[in-house]
């Protein structure tokens, strides 16, 4: 005889119930915030989850768990029926009970010893006092306790046999008096009757309900049976001679799963007194919180299966080895595809299947970060009420997925940070109002992908951290010397709060508003292969940023070579590759504040040699001897010494070209010079041995397709090792841009739009376009003369004409021209005389950037001269010319 209610079933029940609790909490908070607008579906979801916990607890005979969840269910029924408002008082009772359920689940075997009287009393008050006060009668507690919710012990083989033979399983309840004695049967007769139409796999009496000797005979005890039969329910009811509602069919799918795979969820017996909520109706639903969005969704009919995590981890490791084997296979056989017919297709297939398999297995371990985030609205709600503060939490990116192990280990550090933010950083409403802030403080929890990592930013708009006080404390605690303290930036000082031993309850919380044990936060984050940083502005708020790896498994990476050594750079960290030809080295690589930078389009990027950063002796291959020789160039812009024959063409020597990998590091980018670029490979990340785990420039190791073990580079570590100062370069970039902007403005101010013309072959003239109203082509015959004066009919009026050779010492228009041109200037603002200037040819209309110099000739309207199109050109002011001609007349 073996018991089916073994540890695995109980642990499945606990795991499933915890999942339910995780979905219930955000839904309850949403109900509290939105009241009746929360929507029927949210309420139903809570209802279903509680109902499942109750059913499982009853099935496994965890009495207190069952009673507490049952009472919670009753409260929810009142809310569902509109007889109770989901106000903070009601939610306090439900949330406190939820916590108690969680505590019971944490100690499931002694759950009946976990005290829950306080919570039951809270719920009772809600049911009896609030329920009556709001809506009238309370009917939910009038139902009898469910006597069925107990565990069955039975022969597993007999159960398997029944299930495999296609029998139905029923959970039947028979009352000793009502259903057996009053019908003239003995208990044995009843059982024999049942055995005649099926198998009674197990039965027991509801012993909890038995009274002592003095009143025992007044009771009608219930007998629960697990009954297997081929009969459908209606026939089973007749055969057992029981009322229909006392014969409840069990979920055969779940039962088969349980028997076949052992690791199945316990079959939940539907309790008769609390019918499941109605199916979802098309009702108005509030937009769920981001956190709610990512809460585990209701089953949509897709079958699920619980699998042990260690099994998945084992699969993950094995698929890693498979990827490695695939890489080696592809490399080994790539040269034989022409020799062996069909090999290419086979390799392609293996390649594709392996990649898909790897992706699927990785997906099995991925969990949304929302599973952790969802707990924080509750924490913030409770802390707000306890501290008398107004705190709002905003969750973004709850759907971002991380490896399960990372998600689980994130809970503690995140809880730590959030609690500190609420407790110490966010001010009281009065204090906030005095500072001109809104009374409600904001905590924003934001998860997002960046550079192949997942970043989690926890921001608040609270007090911020005072670097001066942090520094004082750090010096007092001996974490930093006074001399070193002078070199620290404010940001570096603020990050001292992560130093081990810095935090103690009374000091740190007073100083910084960041509480106890931030070193624990850092330690836990680093254990996950992540980093933590803090940025704070005094009086404005603080942001703690956790940078975490997405997974620790398999990543596509670029393989690069330096001095005959190879390294892998995760592809997600790579922005682009830049090839700098030797001829461009001098123009594209500069030195700023002692650091070398690459000019890439409109940006300046810090540039380092990977070999230098890793302290690898640089070498180059001698073109004459093919030997590897040390490269002694100090500056990147230095070129390799050429051979004597090549010296004249040194700038074009290809060996002086550079391959630069531009890497992304948070908001910054920098270039890394490598000797060779190979290929992108999917590498299996192996954690670093503890002996070299302090080498911050490496994030792991891997084995290449050719069997060679190489290190995986960590861009952050390399930047740190190379001591890159992004701020200096940004400053320089800003300065240059400002200079360029000023130059452009200056150029714009000097640029003139002119009309270039001539009156003879001798001189060139120009007038500003802005002063020209019109250009006209005229026939010399159309010019009319009155004495010395000339006119041309323009818009029906005689327009006086003037010739430059009559106003200044320049050559006249040659005789015999068939056509001439007129420049008609715009009238001056004062409305001076109108006239046209006769010229021989219009040469061009163009923009010029010139400095005008004085001209040697005399005359009116002379602005100066400058070289235009390599000819000395006299710049004229046509308005002054016209005015002068008027004076002359």
């Amino acid at each position: 005889m073996s018991s089916l209610v073994d540890e695995s079933i109980i642990s499945d029940f606990v795991a499933e119930s915890r999942e339910h609790l995780n979905t219930i909490e955000p839904d309850l908070l949403a109900m509290e915030q939105s009241g009746s607008k929360a929507g029927q579906e949210v309420l139903n979801r809570v209802f279903r989850a509680i109902h499942s916990i109750k059913g499982g607890a009853g099935f496994l005979a965890f009495e207190r768990l069952k009673h507490l969840s049952h009472t919670m269910e009753n409260v929810l029924m009142l809310i569902r029926d509109g007889k109770l408002e989901a106000d903070p008082g009601v939610m306090d009772a439900l949330l406190a009970s939820l916590d108690r359920l969680r505590a019971m689940l944490d100690d499931i075997h002694d759950s009946d010893q976990v005290p829950c009287e306080k919570e039951m009393e809270q719920l009772r008050v809600v049911l009896e006092e609030r329920g009556h006060a709001v809506g009238g009668k309370v009917s939910v507690q009038t139902r009898p306790e469910d006597p069925l919710s107990r565990c069955f012990d039975m022969d597993e083989e007999a159960l398997k046999s029944a299930v495999t033979r296609g029998m139905h399983l029923y959970h039947a309840t028979a009352y000793l008096h009502r259903d057996i004695k009053d019908k003239g049967m003995s208990p044995l007769g009843f059982l024999n009757n049942a055995m005649g139409v099926g198998n009674c796999l197990d039965a027991f009496i509801d012993i909890a309900a038995v009274a002592e000797l003095d009143h025992c005979l007044e009771q009608d005890l219930a007998v629960a049976l697990l009954f297997a039969t081929v009969l459908e329910r209606d026939l089973a009811v007749i055969a057992l001679k029981l009322p229909e509602e006392q014969v409840v069919p069990l979920d055969m799918g779940a039962m088969k799963e349980k028997l076949g795979l052992v690791k199945a969820a316990p079959a939940v017996v539907p309790a008769p007194e609390a019918p499941p909520p109605p199916p979802p109706q098309p009702v108005e639903e509030i937009p769920p919180q981001e956190s709610g969005k990512n809460a585990p969704k209701e089953s949509t009919g897709q079958e699920t299966l619980r699998v042990r995590v260690d099994l998945l981890t084992g699969l993950m490791n094995q698929v890693g080895e498979l990827v490695l084997g695939r890489n080696q296979l592809l490399r080994a056989l790539s040269g034989h595809t022409r020799d062996i017919p069909g090999l290419s297709a086979i390799l392609q297939n293996i390649n594709q299947v392996t990649s898909e398999l790897q992706e699927r297995i990785m997906q099995t371990r991925m969990q949304p970060i929302g599973t952790v985030f969802n707990r924080f609205p509750r924490i913030i709600r409770d802390m707000s009420r306890a501290l008398g503060k107004q705190i709002e939490i905003q969750i973004m990116g709850a759907g971002v997925e991380l490896d399960k192990s990372i998600v689980e280990l994130l809970t503690d550090p995140l809880t730590h940070i959030i609690r500190n933010s609420a407790d110490h950083a966010i001010e009281d409403p009065e204090e906030r109002l005095k500072k001109g802030k809104p009374p409600a403080g904001q905590i924003v929890l934001h998860a997002y992908h960046q550079g192949g990592q997942v970043n989690i930013a926890i921001s608040d708009d609270g007090r911020g951290i005072d670097p001066k006080r942090v520094l004082q404390k750090a010096i007092a605690k001996g974490l930093v010397t006074e001399s070193k303290a002078q070199d620290l930036t404010d940001r570096e000082i603020v990050n001292l709060i992560f130093a081990p031993g810095f935090s103690t309850a009374e000091t740190v919380s007073e100083i910084s508003g960041r509480g106890v044990g931030m070193d624990v936060v850092r330690t836990n984050t680093e254990k996950l292969g992540g980093r933590v940083e803090v940025e704070s502005e005094l009086g404005m708020g603080t942001t703690v940023l956790l940078r975490l790896p997405l997974t620790l498994a398999i990543i596509p990476s670029m393989i690069v070579g330096v001095s005959r050594q190879r390294f892998a750079i995760p592809q997600v960290n790579i922005v682009e590759f830049v090839w700098i030809r030797s001829a461009e080295v001098m123009t594209r690589i500069e030195r700023i504040h002692g650091a070398q930078v690459l000019r890439l389009r409109d940006k300046l990027l810090p540039l380092i040699r990977l070999a230098d950063a890793l302290d690898i002796p640089r070498t180059f291959e001698d073109p004459d001897t093919q030997e590897s020789r040390p490269d002694r160039r100090a500056s990147i812009a230095d070129r390799r010494s050429p051979t004597r024959e090549e010296r004249s063409e040194r700038r074009l020597d290809g060996r002086n070209d550079y391959s630069v990998v531009v890497l992304r590091l948070g908001p910054h980018q920098f270039g890394v010079i490598v000797d060779e670029l190979f290929d992108i490979e999917e590498i299996v990340v192996k954690p670093l041995s503890s002996f070299i785990s302090d080498c911050k420039c490496f994030s792991g190791a891997t084995i290449l397709g050719d069997g060679r073990a190489i290190m995986i580079l960590d861009p952050g570590g390399i930047a740190s090792l190379a001591n890159l100062h992004f701020s200096d370069i940004q400053e320089e970039e800003k300065r240059r841009k400002e200079m360029e902007r000023q130059e452009a403005a200056l150029r714009a101010s000097r640029t003139r739009s002119i009309i270039l013309f001539k009156v003879s072959e001798e001189e060139r003239f120009a007038v500003p376009q802005e002063h020209v109203k019109r250009l006209e082509r005229i026939h010399p015959g159309a010019i009319e003369r009155v004495g010395d004066r000339e006119y041309w009919k323009y818009l029906g009026e005689p327009l006086p004409l003037l010739r430059l050779d009559r106003l200044m010492e320049v050559s006249p228009i040659p005789q015999g021209r068939n056509e001439l041109y007129l420049i008609i200037p715009k009238a001056s603002a004062e409305g001076g005389a109108q006239a046209g200037i006769i010229i021989s040819d219009i040469l061009d209309a163009l923009d010029v950037d010139v400095d005008l110099r004085p001209v040697d000739i005399q005359g009116p309207g002379l602005l100066g001269s400058a070289m235009v199109h390599d000819r000395l050109t006299i710049f004229l002011d046509p308005l002054q010319l016209v005015a002068a001609s008027g004076d002359a007349s």
């Binding site: 012990d153 000793l176 008096h177 057996i180 004695k181 003995s186 208990p187 044995l188 059982l191 009674c200 197990d202 039965a203 027991f204 009496i205 012993i207 038995v210 009274a211 002592e212 000797l213 003095d214 009143h215 025992c216 005979l217 009771q219 005890l221 007998v223």
Partner: protein, 111 residues
């Protein structure tokens, strides 16, 4: 109606109280047996055995009575067991998982 064999009836708690109805525990007998049992268990003995010698049939009330005796013993911390049960009765007890609550011994074959 046979009375339970309690030895001895005195104010001193008995080491062993052996309840022996000697007849079927059915609707017509259970009330009298209940009263006898209650009397026999005052003062509470240190151990109670229900001897089912002569009991061939138990109905719903009989089972309720046996469970009532057990519950009273359990409340006072008195060990309780059933002995000399015929196979049919043992079968009923087993089907109702009663042996999980207290020991049920079948009639010895040689008796």
């Amino acid at each position: 109606m046979p009375t339970p064999k309690a030895r001895p009836h005195s104010s001193k708690p008995a080491e062993l109280l052996r309840l022996k109805p000697g007849r079927d525990l059915v609707a017509s007998t259970v009330e009298a047996e209940r009263e006898s049992c209650m009397k026999a268990m005052t003062p509470p003995p240190k151990r109670v055995v229900l001897d089912l010698t002569g009991v061939n049939q138990i109905d719903s009330l009989g089972i309720t009575l046996i469970l009532g005796i057990y519950k009273s013993c359990q409340k006072q911390g008195i060990p309780f067991s059933v002995e000399e049960a015929v196979p049919d009765l043992v079968r009923v007890f087993k089907l109702f998982s009663i042996p999980k609550l207290f020991p049920v011994l079948e009639t010895s074959p040689h008796e």
